[in-house]
Amino acid sequence: MWNLLYQLASPKMFYQISGRIIPWVASLAITLLFIGLIWGLFFTPPDYQQGDAFRIIYVHVPSAFMSMSIYAFMGFLALLLLIWRIKLAGIILNVCAELGAAMAFLSLVTGSIWGKPMWGTWWIWDARLTSELILFFLYAAIIAVGNAYVNKEKGDKIIAILTLVGLVDLPIIHYSVYWWNTLHQGSTLAIFAKPKIDTSMLYPLLLMILGFALYSMFTILLKTRNELLIRGRHQNWVKKLVEGGVL
């Protein structure tokens, strides 16, 4: 297990293996997103209270879910970097922060668009919205700190520590709707409880969440490969790839 992990941690090996995985992940992500979007937009019944406005759930929930999942994954990467000194984890950490920030932004904006017709306001300092906004600021801080360092390896360690500190925001976001009296509705999905929405609305939502997860994996792999080429420009395997024209 550890041997496999260390092999994968080699930039050259990661570049080769990711190159083989990417086409499969990309095809599956695009297929799921396409089916989920069409199903959610045109083939699910309108909600009995929210009417067709509820369809925003199919872009809002997946982006919110990914904003939190990517951060949790970054926590794991931070541990890999700080404890096992796997440098590749630091590179992926930077890549994840950019995508995570975008997902948090999308979650906030689509939530705001959904909030206007349902709550009568674009924004309210509700516990769920505020804690998600803090997550967005955490991502922004991680990106800013990472970019501020000329020595990228040192910058990676600093953002790994910052990531671990920020992990405290994840349970706050998740439990905010239970701990405080919020305008935001409770969780639609839970691992150990029956979903609160009808299956006709649930299946496209699950497809969209899986599609977003695969899309995130796909773009993280692509961007990590780009970063590996920049940081590994003094290494022989990168030289061979460029001269062979097989990037």
């Binding site: 997103l33 979007l37 872009v59 780009n226 460029v242």
Partner: protein, 53 residues
């Protein structure tokens, strides 16, 4: 035809539903294009880098 128009109206919420979807789809596409353009830039930079060596 009227059925399609009715679907596009999204009840009375088309001004909210379509911008939300538009924003997300635009991001998903632009993000991918950006990575593709970044790869092209890196490839050119690396070619020049190795020529100088």
């Amino acid at each position: 035809m009227s059925g399609i128009l009715e679907m596009l109206k999204m009840g009375e919420y088309s001004t909210y539903v379509w911008p939300a979807y538009g924003l997300v789809i635009t991001f998903l596409i632009l993000n991918l294009l950006n990575i593709k353009w970044q790869k092209k830039r890196i490839y050119k930079q690396l070619e020049q880098f190795f020529k100088r060596q």
